[in-house]
């Protein structure tokens, strides 16, 4: 078993899942994942890129 206090890497995908899909939301924005396109739109205000990098890191676990 591996224990990583406040880790930022292993497994990164578990952390990213929480950052993007959980936690308090005050604006009611929806996270929309566009299949095959490495962009996730957060409302109309923030564009998230490099999701493929995160997915590659998470694919190891």
């Amino acid at each position: 078993m591996t224990r990583e206090p406040a880790t930022l890497d292993v497994p990164l995908v578990e952390l990213v899942d929480r950052l993007l899909n959980r936690g308090v939301v005050l604006t009611g924005e929806l996270t929309i994942s566009v299949a095959g396109v490495d962009l996730i739109y957060l409302g109309l205000s923030v564009v998230l890129s490099s999701v493929d990098t995160i997915r590659r890191a998470g694919a190891e676990v």
């Binding site: 995908v13 952390l15 929480r18 923030v46």
Partner: protein, 222 residues
């Protein structure tokens, strides 16, 4: 100036993030901590991890509710209006969750989910295609059953402590169980020891425990 919400804290803790560049917008029962945000900025992995680091730093100092990444407000007034609308619920959540932390417990297949991955290899004939599909379905079902058995073992270990738990089985090919446990800090070492012993008994998965994190999974939106 546009603000990106980071966390919710008690009004008396509103100044906790001043040295982190966090601006506080206070209501009566709670305060919101936010960073200025350039709306033309494209966020990526570094911004996500910065969000986590800021929340973790605040969480190490005071009880807080973590914000989902991406809550943006036009200005402090807009954030204040929304905060006031939600502050009764947020104050209740903060009192219930703010002093607890989340452990992320991941059980990863030791074979990295090879059994599921191999079935996506294109088959030649129609019969071979159908046979592969049947094999994949059977394999997936077996893994789901096994994952549920692992969940039962995990819950048995966690039941010795007053924890709240949420879990998903087989969320990705390489993962058998993704579980979140809400615990108090004084229970972390005991739980980790139990999970370590359990991990040594399970031949087909590796248990990874991450945290303590702010209670992302248990802070709800509405």
């Amino acid at each position: 100036m546009t603000l990106l919400l980071r966390a919710i804290v008690a009004p008396g803790d509103a100044g906790v993030g001043a040295d982190l560049g966090l601006r506080a917008v206070s209501g009566t029962a709670v305060a919101a901590l936010a960073s200025t945000w350039d709306t033309t900025r494209v966020a990526g992995e570094p911004e996500l991890l910065d969000h986590h680091r800021l929340i973790q730093t605040v969480f190490e100092r005071v009880p807080c509710l973590p914000a989902r990444f991406g809550s943006v407000f036009a200005d402090e007034d807009a954030l204040h209006v929304r905060l006031v609308q939600r502050e009764v619920d947020l104050a209740s959540q903060l009192a219930r969750l703010g002093h607890r932390c989340e452990l992320a417990i991941t059980c990863a297949w030791r074979d990295k989910g090879v059994a599921s991955a191999v079935s996506i290899v294109p088959a030649g004939s129609g019969r071979a295609y159908l046979e592969r599909g049947l094999e994949r379905t059977r394999g997936d079902r077996e893994r789901e059953v096994r994952a549920e058995a692992i969940v039962a073992r995990l819950l048995s270990e966690l039941a010795t402590e007053p924890t709240f738990v949420r879990h998903r089985t087989c969320p990705r090919p390489a993962v058998a169980v993704s579980m979140s446990a809400l615990v108090t800090r004084d229970k972390i070492d005991g739980i980790s020891s139990r999970l370590e012993r359990l991990g040594a008994q399970l031949p087909d998965v590796t248990i990874v425990v991450q945290g303590p994190w702010a209670p992302y999974t248990f802070a709800v939106s509405e």
